[in-house]
């Protein structure tokens, strides 16, 4: 990280360490979870008959319905938590980066509620593929600044947000959207997303009387994955992260930094990156704008390195097919990101014993993807 941001990161860490232990902050966050976001989000078992169609032999697949959270994805958990912190720190100006637009919408929403100025950096390519979210941010009073550098995607938006922060560090709070980037963001974002796993663990205990056999989530930067998994790390549950396999395993055809990348430093974190031999970060590819980050949260990289986290990939085609399947059999249109996690579970299904229970984080809903789906899927 540039030296200019070190004082800001130190201040942020200090403020976060006070806030996270402060009963006032925690109570306000709980109230907003319940009354504004609509937590707890339910867990829902995919109908047996639907799973049988896909070779299921009786195993149960439970969806943690983050798609039902306000604004349609888990991103709001983090955005509300950080925006509350911005307010506590007396920073009137909030900036954020966004890929699919979900984190941008979530931050714009939290800022609207809390009376903070909100500027969202979004790559020009993403603005094109996620137009409805751009309009939502505008309606919420946020300014969307198009980023035309690089390939106009998430990492370019993040670079630009960091440049803004360097220049406006005194009055600006940077709401980073994933469990990635410089310390303390990975830890803070994981803590704010952990509510997903805490709820799910209690819900699974209520439904089946034990923890599930596996916990599965898609992995881009990894906030939904670390959020649902962290409360299960000390259990016997398998932890399975599903990366974007894109259109193949060649560099630049996927966003599989854990499975196919190499260690390096990007955005202030030492983690796994999609990069070439000379250390240039290579633009990842995924049909879903929310997974095409070239790095991954450092906690997930550590869990993968230790073998605790199993890493799989689902391709663009599998994600698209799963989206259609889930829509037709369950009446749920998942975000393309989340469809990657479900796709990997469908692939495993024939191998799972009848008494197995798998918990999948359905991290967001797919309304934002209608444009992509229209283009990528044959008309019904």
């Amino acid at each position: 990280m540039p030296e200019t941001l070190i004082p800001a990161l130190d201040d942020l860490e200090a403020a976060w360490n006070i806030a996270r232990r402060d009963s006032g902050y925690r109570a306000e966050l709980r109230r907003l979870h319940r009354d504004f976001i609509g937590r707890p989000t339910p867990v829902f078992a995919i109908p047996r008959a639907a799973l049988a169609e896909r070779g299921g032999r009786g195993a149960s697949v439970w969806l943690k319905r983050e798609d039902l959270a306000h604004t349609g994805a888990h991103k709001i958990n983090n955005a509300v938590g950080q925006s509350l912190l911005a307010q506590r720190m007396g920073k009137p100006r909030v900036i954020a980066e966004t890929g699919a637009g979900q984190h941008g919408v979530a931050t714009a929403t939290a800022c609207a509620l809390l009376g903070l100025e909100c500027i969202v950096y979004m790559g020009s390519t993403d603005i094109e593929r996620q137009a409805p979210n751009v309009r939502r941010m505008g309606l919420l009073g946020a300014e969307v600044r198009p980023v035309t550098t690089g390939n106009g995607t998430l990492r370019d938006a993040l670079n630009e947000a960091l440049r803004d922060w360097v220049a406006n560090v005194e009055d600006t709070f940077y709401v980073l959207g994933s469990a990635a980037g410089p310390h303390p963001y990975p830890e803070m974002v994981a803590s704010l997303q952990e509510v997903i796993g805490r709820e799910a663990r209690a819900q699974m205990m209520a439904h089946i009387g034990r923890v599930p056999d596996a916990v599965v989530a898609c992995v881009g930067g990894g906030s939904n994955a670390i959020g649902i998994m962290r409360p299960f790390i000390d259990t016997a549950a398998r932890l399975i992260g599903v990366e974007a396999g894109g259109r193949g395993d060649a560099l630049g055809d996927n966003a599989a930094s854990l499975g196919l990348g190499a260690p390096g430093v990007l955005h202030g974190a030492f983690t796994m990156l999609t990069q070439d031999a000379a250390g240039q970060v290579v633009e990842p590819h995924s049909v879903s704008a929310g997974l095409d980050y070239p790095g991954v949260g450092p906690q997930l990289a550590a869990l993968a390195e230790s073998g605790r986290l199993e890493v799989l990939r689902a391709t663009d085609a599998e994600a698209l097919e799963t989206t259609t399947w889930l829509a037709r059999t369950c009446g749920i249109i998942p975000a393309l990101e989340s469809a990657h996690a479900v796709a990997a579970v469908l692939r495993m299904l024939p191998e799972l014993p009848a008494d197995a229970h798998v918990l999948v984080n359905l991290s967001g809903r797919g309304d934002k993807d209608l444009g992509i789906l229209e283009r990528e899927l044959p008309a019904p």
Partner: protein, 267 residues
Amino acid sequence: MNGPARIRRAFDAAAADARTALIAYILAGYPTEADGLAAAEAALAAGADLLEVGVPFSDPLADGPTIADAGRVALAAGGGLPSAQRLVTSLRGRGHTTPILVMSYLNPLIAAGEGQTLRALRTAGADGLIVPDLPAGASPRLERLAASLGLAVCFLVAPNTSRARIEAAANATTGFLYVVPLLGVTGARDTIATGARQLVASVRELAAGRVPVAAGFGLSTPAQVAALAPAADGLIIGSALVAAMRDGGHQRLGALVRSLVAAAVHR
């Protein structure tokens, strides 16, 4: 001569001439590898006291549009750390003895293992490193490696850097202490940031002669150089030289460096 000594000698020589050292930033491989070499030689011929060889990077988050855009051009033409290393080798092969500092973001330096990479840079003839996304103390291993190879390391300080961190940066720096006199990224500004001169002067006082103090980011014109020269041991010009290269090739770059060197003479 090891890197730190050669860098120190260049600052001392400029001071003996009653000048502030002029440090020219050349983006390696921009717009092609041959042009990068021509740009470096033009800067040296025009009297630059030290040379910074910039390594283009995919995610240049400390750089403004001029260097970021040029970096993309250089990368597309095959630029990167290997090509920057070839530039250093060529300059030494042509007999240039001016100190050369390689300015690279951290990731290209560690991708193939920092030991191997730093050794190769030193062998090529580099005297030091500037890593804009590496704060002092963040990688003791890299600092130790550089020291053992005789490569200087230069750390950056900004207007919001605490006194304690300026001290730490001055202690860890073995080349020159790089003062960024503004909050923001690289790139020409119409005016010098308010307080820039005072910041440079106070950092220089804190450094207390341990290492030379040079300022960069936002400087582009002879008038700005003349205004800051009395406060600093060195001044770094980057984006303005990249823009000159873009708009008028190495001839224009050489002419600009000549006027900047002249402006750095103490009056």
